[in-house]
C-alpha cells in the first residue's frame, strides 16, 4: 500500500482521522476548515467517521445493553412532532396565514382547543407512549408524532407573546435579493430565534440551499456560527426557525448565503441574499 502523502494532505488526513475518533480542538478545527476548504474533501472526512462508527458498533456499543427510558422516549416523541411541523412549514413554504393550519385541525377535532396547547401535547405524547403507540403499526392512521406536532407558527407566537428581555428584532437588508425583505428575531439568553422572510427566491434543494450565519462578538468574525440550512419552496412570507449549531454569546449580525445542498462549514460568501445588523 502506498501511504506516501504530500505533507499538507498528510496533515489533513491526520486531522480527518482525529476528528472521526476523538475530536478536534478549536485551533485544530480552524486548521481543518482551512485545509479542507482548499481541497473540499468533506466526503473524505465523512468516510473516516463512518469507519470509526463501524468499529465502534463492532466492539464498543451493544444496543441490547439498556432500553431508553420511557420518559426520554416521550420527550423525543414531542421533538419529532415539532421537527415535522417545522419541516412542513419549510418544505411547503406555506404563507403566514396558513402556516399553522395543518395541526390545528387535529387539535380542534379532538376537542383539545380548550386546553393549554403545550400541556396537551405533552400529555398526548405520554398517553400515546403509555398506550404502546410508540411505533406506528397502522399506516392508515395518523402517527403520534404527527398528531402532537406543534407548528413553527405556534412556537413563534409563543416566543413573541412573552419575549425575552434581550430580544433582538431587526429588519433584513437585501444584498443580492433586491425584492426580498422581512425580519429576524433572536434571543441570546434563550438561544432561540426565527426568520420572517418575504419574497426570497424559491430554491431547488437538489442544487442549492440557503444557510443562515450568526456573527457573534465573542467569536472570530471569519467564522460565524452556522444557523442552519433551509429551503424556500414558494414566494410570499415564510417563517423559518433558527437552529444555531453552537451557543451564541452575543449576536450582532445575521447573514443568509446560498450554498450547496447540505450547507458548508465555511462560506465563500459569494451569494448573500440578505443581511441584518444589530445596532
Amino acid at each position: 500500500m502506498n501511504h506516501e502523502l504530500p505533507a499538507s494532505d498528510e496533515r489533513l488526513v491526520d486531522l480527518m482521522i482525529q476528528r472521526a475518533t476523538f475530536g478536534l480542538s478549536e485551533s485544530e478545527q480552524l486548521e481543518f476548515d482551512r485545509l479542507n476548504s482548499a481541497s473540499d474533501n468533506l466526503d473524505e472526512a465523512e468516510l473516516f467517521e463512518l469507519t470509526a462508527s463501524a468499529i465502534d458498533l463492532a466492539y464498543g456499543t451493544s444496543q441490547a445493553q439498556e432500553e431508553m427510558p420511557r420518559q426520554m422516549q416521550d420527550k423525543l416523541l414531542i421533538s419529532a412532532g415539532q421537527f415535522l411541523a417545522n419541516q412542513r412549514s419549510l418544505v411547503a413554504g406555506a404563507p403566514s396565514e396558513s402556516r399553522s393550519s395543518v395541526n390545528q385541525s387535529n387539535v380542534r377535532n379532538s376537542n383539545w382547543g380548550r386546553l393549554n396547547v403545550a400541556a396537551a401535547l405533552v400529555t398526548a405524547a405520554s398517553l400515546l407512549v403509555a398506550a404502546g403507540w410508540w411505533f406506528v403499526s397502522d399506516r392508515n392512521n395518523n402517527s403520534p408524532v404527527e398528531a402532537i406536532a406543534l407548528t413553527t407558527q405556534q412556537k413563534f407566537d409563543e416566543f413573541m407573546s412573552a419575549p425575552p428581555v434581550d430580544l433582538v428584532e431587526v429588519e433584513w437588508q437585501p444584498v443580492h435579493a433586491p425584492k426580498a425583505a422581512g425580519k429576524v428575531v433572536w434571543s441570546d439568553s434563550r438561544q432561540q430565534g426565527y426568520m420572517v422572510l418575504k419574497d426570497l427566491d424559491v430554491n431547488d434543494p437538489l442544487n442549492e440551499q440557503y444557510q443562515l450565519w450568526i456573527f457573534d462578538t465573542a467569536k472570530d468574525q471569519a467564522h460565524p456560527v452556522d444557523g442552519g440550512v433551509f429551503n424556500i419552496a414558494t414566494t410570499g412570507e415564510v417563517l423559518v426557525p433558527i437552529m444555531a449549531h453552537i451557543p451564541v454569546n452575543r449576536a450582532v449580525q445575521f447573514a443568509i448565503t446560498v450554498e450547496r445542498p447540505g450547507g458548508v462549514t465555511v462560506s465563500s460568501r459569494e451569494k448573500i441574499p440578505l443581511l441584518a445588523s444589530v445596532n
Binding site: N2, F22, L50, Y59, G60, E66
Partner: protein
C-alpha cells in the same frame, strides 16, 4: 424491480411514520452511545435530543452505497457526542474521555447481533497489527487523544499518530472506501459539487 426506499430517506421526506420508526429502531443505539460518553443523566438527555434532531435534519445525506443506516446513525451520534465532549473540555480543561468499558471479546450471541458492516469491522480490526489495533481501540472507544494514547501505551507520539493513520486508512479502504488503496487523497470530489 423497485427497490425499497431507505428509512432515512423517508424521514428526509417528512413522513411521520418514518420518523416514528426511526426513533423506534435507533433509540437504544443512540441511548447506549450517549450513556457511554455523558457525565450525567441531564447531559445524556440533552445529547440524545440533539442527536435525533441532527439525524432527522441530515437524513437525506444517507448514502446506502457507503454504509448501512445503522452505521450512519452511529456516525451522527458520535459526531455530536465528540462535539459536546470537546465543548465541555474547553470549559473545564479536563481531558476528553469516554467512560471506560470493557472491550473484551464479545460472545457469539452479541456478535450475531452485529450488522454486516460492524461484523466486518470486527474481523478487519483483528487482522491489523497489534499496535495499530491498540491505538484505534483507545481513540475510537475511549476517546483518548494522541498524547493520551502515548501516555497509556508508552509509545512515542509519532508512533501513535502513524499507527492510527495506517490502521484507519486500511480499515476505511476495506469498509467504506471505493478505492483499492486509500493511501493518497482522492481528487475525484469536485469543488462545490452538490452532495
Amino acid at each position: 424491480m423497485l427497490s425499497e426506499i431507505p428509512l432515512l430517506h423517508r424521514v428526509a421526506k417528512g413522513e411521520p411514520h418514518a420518523v416514528a420508526e426511526c426513533l423506534d429502531r435507533y433509540k437504544n443505539l443512540v441511548w447506549a452511545l450517549a450513556r457511554r460518553s455523558c457525565p450525567d443523566s441531564q447531559a445524556m438527555e440533552d445529547a440524545v435530543q440533539e442527536i435525533f434532531l441532527k439525524l432527522w435534519t441530515v437524513a437525506y445525506r444517507f448514502d446506502a452505497s457507503l454504509a448501512s443506516e445503522t452505521t450512519f446513525v452511529a456516525m451522527i451520534a458520535r459526531r455530536s457526542l465528540i462535539d459536546l465532549s470537546r465543548k465541555k473540555s474547553s470549559v473545564t480543561a479536563s481531558p476528553i474521555e469516554f467512560d471506560s468499558f470493557s472491550t473484551a471479546e464479545m460472545g457469539a450471541a452479541e456478535r450475531a447481533e452485529l450488522n454486516d458492516e460492524a461484523a466486518k469491522a470486527a474481523v478487519l480490526l483483528e487482522q491489523l497489527p497489534a499496535d495499530q489495533q491498540s491505538v484505534i481501540r483507545l481513540s475510537v472507544f475511549k476517546g483518548l487523544s494522541h498524547a493520551g494514547i502515548a501516555k497509556q501505551t508508552g509509545l512515542s507520539l509519532g508512533t501513535v499518530k502513524s499507527n492510527l493513520r495506517r490502521g484507519m486508512l486500511r480499515l476505511r479502504s476495506a469498509l467504506v472506501g471505493n478505492e483499492s488503496d486509500s493511501g493518497s487523497m482522492p481528487t475525484s470530489v469536485a469543488q462545490g459539487e452538490p452532495r
